[in-house]
């Protein structure tokens, strides 16, 4: 039995750890299999320092063609022949072998980009007899994009250890981490103010205090009714996320409604002014991403919706910019 088991087992265990694991903030990351794990959080230009531990199993020695660690920033676009909403199979990235085969199968357009790739050689080819640790350090790493887990696109950062081998597949171990970048409050932040209407039916003027909101911000505004000729049942404010991937004719757009927030119950009359106060913190927003590496964008919109008594919906959509405020 032992022999049989041994034959399929990898010859060693590989683990990656960070030097500041205990002090660094951990954030949840949703894996492809649906599980959520806690991973360390970094921001751009931080030093990523740690060590790799390789522990041969059963005390056996084994040969290798060298050991390296890579820091990869990847954008994975999951658009397959117009097929959207594709569910990723479990551990699609579990090993590079598997990954490359899957990529050939599903990612026929090669929608898999490394926008950052740094390598550190840890060991020259040779033999390993016993457990060994390798220190590694990536200093002041440029990580301009934030980790993102969308519907058709995913941006992720990983540390990948590869033990090269002859004739048989390499041993690969990955460690995810999350990058979030903070921005200071924008110097210009105009309000959104507009008068809109359907001729002779409904004229309103709305005002949102700002056009740029941080993730824990609160939208303050008001809706002023200039003319009401339809029987309004209620009014809602929606927060919608628009994720677009690809470019040109191959652009794929997914829109999600993240929040439906009732602003008004009943029919107003001319001259009424309805307050808006929507706290953003309960919703899982990300900052606005514009044209990340020419691959994708994530934008946010406020959608003001009126529903009349026949359940017809009238709406007006306005883009807002979401940013991650540098917390002081």
């Amino acid at each position: 039995m032992d022999f049989l088991v041994g034959a399929f087992k990898p010859p060693c265990n590989v683990s990656i750890s960070f030097v500041d694991t205990k002090t660094r903030k951990q954030v949840p990351l949703k894996k492809d299999n649906g599980q959520t794990i806690m991973v360390p959080l970094f921001q751009s230009q931080e030093n990523i320092i740690g060590e790799v531990l390789i522990e041969p199993t059963q005390g056996k020695k084994f040969e290798h063609n060298g050991v390296k660690i890579e820091l990869l920033g990847q954008i994975v676009v999951l658009v397959i022949g117009g097929l959207s909403h594709y569910t990723w199979p479990d551990s699609i990235l579990a090993s590079s072998v598997l990954f490359s085969s899957v990529a050939e199968l599903y990612f026929d357009r090669g929608n898999f980009y490394d926008f950052t790739s740094l390598v550190r050689e840890l060991d020259v080819p040779g033999e390993l007899f016993e457990r060994k640790t390798y220190q590694f350090e990536f200093s002041t790493v440029e990580m301009p994009h934030e980790s993102y887990n969308g519907i058709n696109v995913r941006l992720r950062y990983i540390l990948k250890v590869t033990i090269g081998r002859n004739y048989i597949s390499n041993i690969v171990e990955c460690q995810d981490f999350v990058v979030r970048n903070f921005t200071p409050p924008p110097s210009i932040n105009n309000s959104i103010k507009m008068e809109v209407g359907i001729e002779d039916c409904l004229h309103i003027e709305f005002e949102y205090g700002k056009s740029k909101y941080h993730l824990k911000d609160v939208i303050i505004g008001k809706i002023y009714f200039l003319l009401v000729r339809i029987k309004i049942k209620n009014m809602e404010l929606e927060i919608r996320r628009r994720e677009s991937t690809g470019s040109g004719p191959n652009t794929y757009v997914e829109t999600e409604t993240l929040a439906k927030f009732e602003l008004m119950d009943g029919a107003p009359v001319r001259g009424e002014s309805i307050p808006v106060r929507l706290f953003l913190s309960p919703y899982e927003l990300t900052p606005t991403y514009r044209n990340i590496n020419n691959k994708f964008s994530v934008k946010y919109y406020l959608n003001l919706v009126f529903v009349d008594e026949e359940d017809r919906r009238y709406f007006k959509q306005q883009e807002i910019t979401v940013y991650r405020l540098l917390e002081s």
């Binding site: 929040a259 009732e262 119950d265 309805i274 307050p275 706290f279």
Partner: protein, 790 residues
């Protein structure tokens, strides 16, 4: 669409309550385990039941009250949370994450209440935020209930003067602003209700609206309870703002209700000091608003206020309350061209009550009010609306009640002009009211012109007014009113004979126009009024200078004669006869023989020519005999003539028994006890004998006609007459005649043909007992009686 079925509504309510209870159950569990997140979740779900549009306000209220109770528990929990260190500010944010607005705002108000209590933020900021956020509910019913909840939870947390929430940043003005804003918004929602939904359900909606009115009015009550709302603040802020909303909402129901509310909830003193502001709003209200009730309420309150204490009266003068109210009423009536008469009259009636209370000394004000009323009524003809008529009666009764003195009311020149507008019937009612007032207060009307004025008021009773249909009048009512008018004549009195005579002439002039139906009531009253004057004069000497204009009994008797003569048109001979006899007696006392003789002559003529009914004749002859017996003014000749006539009439009566009685009554004409020259014993005996003869004849006639002789009563009666004159010392009446008569009666009573008559027996027995008694009495009388044997 929603069906109108009450059953359905009941079902929905039941379902709503079930949903509410279920979520309340989970909420309680969360509260018990201090699970804030779940508590918020289930409370929001519970409150979602209030989002229904299917229930009428009445049923919705039930649901609301249940939610209200549950929210109290949640509020306790929030307080606990805050005490445990949970940031109330965070809590205030947290509840705002709820996606549905109605539950969100209920929760916000609940936390807001705790927030204010925690004093972590100025009360005014929290209140302002809450009242602003509530704008999100534009549905009338849901909005009204939500805001009423807000009002409820904030009531004890307003930064009022002396409140713990008052501070540098929070002043009473913030409290007032908050309540005013909530009031304004609630009223807008309430008014808007009528425009929502199909037109055919308008009536139902109006009913529902009026069920909700107290939710709106409550705010005014809250305002009135704020300590810090003093007169200045009321004048400068509260009232103008409230009125602005009332006027601008342009809704009949709301305007009426809210005006009424304002008047009821705020102190009278404030109303008095802000009268112009309040009144200036009135003409701006919708034409359909029942402004008269509103103003009447106001005036009634002010009247009561004035009546409450004399100390407040100067305030009224200072603000010129009367002229302001008077102007306002004028403007309101002008603005409402088609205001019904009742409205106009009600307004003036209230104003009159007001001025009577506030300015009892200013009779001119009262007259002014009446004058204004007349002006408004002019051109409308008689008032037909019975309610309006009632109001006029109230209007006219007010001064009577206030002054308890018709004389004061008589000074009101416009008083009779108002009465012109009453229909005949009501005019009479009013006249009766006036008379009753006079009677009750025993008011004496002392001058001729006052009498004229008064008669102008009660002329409905004096004569037939135009358009009066006699046949419709109830006989009893007519008697009643004429009797009361007759009583009124007695109240017209002046000690000075000259003036009194003038009064009498005036009264006479008026009552003679009354027609045959009234004269029998009015003339006797006047006659006795005259006779009273005669009695007053009779003691005095004639004016030695023989002044032509002075009042003498002679003059009065002439008037009396003419007055009684007027009755002949009725005709009422029996009444006239009585009156002539009364006058004759008065003339007797004045020693005016010719006058007395003339009256007797008139009486006799009436007897001979007009009185033909036997019964009436009997009565009349006894009256004549009785009166004549007391006359001492006549000389022998006159007296003889009159007595002779009287005995002649007596003997000619139809029934024997009547003849008999009249004849023995005549015996007294010849024997006047206190006059020595009037004692003719012979003729007395003649009369009595004649009476006996007639009694005998009566018995024989009865025997012949019916087979029995009838009763002996007549004999016993005659016996009594014998005894009377016997006692008085008439020498013609002797013991033997009496003895004979007694025996005769005894024999008669034992006769077979006599009808047994217990009454006659008893009468006779007691007559005998009397004789017995006199015999035993002792003294001269006993001696006189001694020989009579019984």
């Amino acid at each position: 669409m929603i069906s109108d079925g009450v059953e359905d509504e009941e079902k929905w309510l039941t379902a709503g309550i079930a949903g509410l209870q279920q979520n309340a159950f989970y909420m309680h569990r969360a509260l018990d385990s201090n699970n804030l997140r779940d508590a918020l979740k289930y409370s929001a779900q519970m409150l979602s039941e209030l989002r229904t549009s299917r229930l009428s306000p009445h049923k919705y209220y039930e649901l609301y009250m249940r939610s209200f109770d549950e929210l109290r528990k949640l509020e306790m929990f929030f307080k606990e949370e805050a005490r445990r260190g949970c940031s109330i500010i965070d809590l205030y944010e947290l509840v705002q994450h709820a996606g549905n607005i109605l539950p969100r705002l209920y929760l916000l108000c609940t936390v807001g209440s705790v927030y204010i209590k925690s004093k972590e933020a100025p009360a005014k900021d929290v209140l302002k935020d809450l009242v602003e956020m509530c704008r999100g509910i534009q549905h009338p019913v849901r909005g009204l209930f939500l805001r009423s909840y807000l009002s409820q939870v904030s009531r004890d947390k307003l930064p009022d003067i002396g409140s713990e929430y008052e501070g540098d940043a929070d002043t009473v003005i913030d409290a007032v602003e908050f309540v005013l804003q909530n009031f304004t918004e609630m009223n807008k929602l309430w008014v808007r209700m009528q425009h929502q939904g199909p037109a055919r359900e308008k009536e139902k909606r109006e009913k529902e609206r009026s069920e909700l009115r107290d939710l709106v009015g409550k705010n005014l009550h809250v305002l009135s309870q704020i300590e810090g709302v003093d007169l200045d603040m009321y004048k400068d802020t509260v009232l103008p703002r409230v009125l602005e909303q009332v006027v601008n909402c342009k809704d009949e129901l709301a305007q009426h209700y809210l005006m009424d509310c304002i008047i009821q909830v705020f102190p009278d003193e404030y109303h008095l000091q802000t009268l112009d502001v309040l009144l200036s709003a009135c003409p701006q209200l919708q034409p359909s608003v029942d402004i008269k009730t509103v103003l009447s309420q106001l005036m009634e309150r002010l009247s009561n206020y004035a009546a409450s204490s004399a100390e407040v009266l100067p305030e009224f003068l200072q603000v010129e309350a009367f002229s302001k109210l008077s102007n306002a009423i004028g403007k309101v009536i002008e603005a409402h061209v088609d205001m019904p008469t009742i409205g106009v009259v009600t307004l003036y009636s209230s104003l009159l009550t007001f001025t009577l209370h506030v300015h009892p000394d200013r009779l001119d004000y009262a007259d002014l009010v009446l004058g204004a009323c007349v002006k408004k009524l002019s051109g409308k003809g008689k008032i037909e609306d019975s309610k309006a008529t009632k109001q006029i009666v109230a209007l006219l009764s007010a001064p009577l009640e206030k002054y308890n003195d018709i004389v004061t009311a008589l000074k009101l020149s416009n008083y009779p002009r108002v009465m012109e507008y009453l229909d005949t019937e009501t005019n009479k009612v009013m006249a009766t009211v006036i008379i009753q007032s006079i009677m009750k207060n025993k008011t004496c009307i002392e001058t001729e012109d006052k009498v004229e004025a008064l008669f102008e008021l009660v002329k409905g009773l004096i004569k037939d007014l135009e358009g009066n249909h006699q046949d419709e009048i109830d006989e009893d009512d007519f008697k009643e009113e004429q009797n009361s008018f007759a009583r009124l004549i007695q109240m017209l009195y002046n000690e000075d004979p000259e003036e009194m005579f003038k009064i009498i002439c005036t009264v006479r002039k008026h009552i003679l126009t009354g027609g045959p139906k009234r004269l029998p009531f009015t003339i006797p009253s006047l006659i006795f009024s005259c006779l009273k004057l005669v009695r007053q004069l009779q003691g005095q000497d004639e004016n030695p200078f023989g002044n032509e204009t002075s009042t003498t009994p002679k003059k009065i008797f002439q008037l009396l004669n003419q007055t009684i003569e007027a009755l002949s048109s009725v005709p009422a001979p029996e009444l006239s006869l009585r009156l002539y006899l009364q006058c004759a007696e008065a003339a007797n006392d004045c020693d005016l023989e010719p006058v007395a003789y003339e009256f007797f002559t008139q009486a006799y003529i009436l007897y001979e020519e007009e009185i033909s009914d036997s019964k009436a004749q009997v009565t009349a002859i006894h009256l004549i005999i009785g009166t004549l017996q007391r006359m001492h003014v006549f000389g022998v000749e006159n007296r003889d003539t009159l007595t002779h006539k009287a005995t002649g009439y007596s003997a000619k009566l139809l029934k024997k028994s009547d003849q008999c009685r009249a004849v023995y009554a005549c015996s007294h004409l010849f024997w006047v006890d206190d006059q020595e020259n009037m004692k003719d014993g012979e003729r007395v005996l003649l009369c009595l004998k004649r009476a006996l003869r007639i009694a005998n004849a009566a018995q024989q006639m009865a025997n012949a006609a019916r087979g029995n002789t009838g009763s002996v009563t007549l004999f016993v009666e005659i016996l009594n007459k014998y005894l009377y004159f016997f006692e008085k010392g008439n020498p013609q009446i002797t013991v033997s005649t009496i003895q004979g008569l007694i025996e005769l009666i005894t024999t008669e009573m034992q006769s077979d043909t006599t009808t047994p008559d217990p009454a006659a027996d008893a009468f006779f027995a007691s007559t005998l007992r009397y004789i017995q008694f006199q015999k035993q009495k002792g003294g001269a009388i006993s001696e006189k009686y001694e020989p009579i044997k019984v």
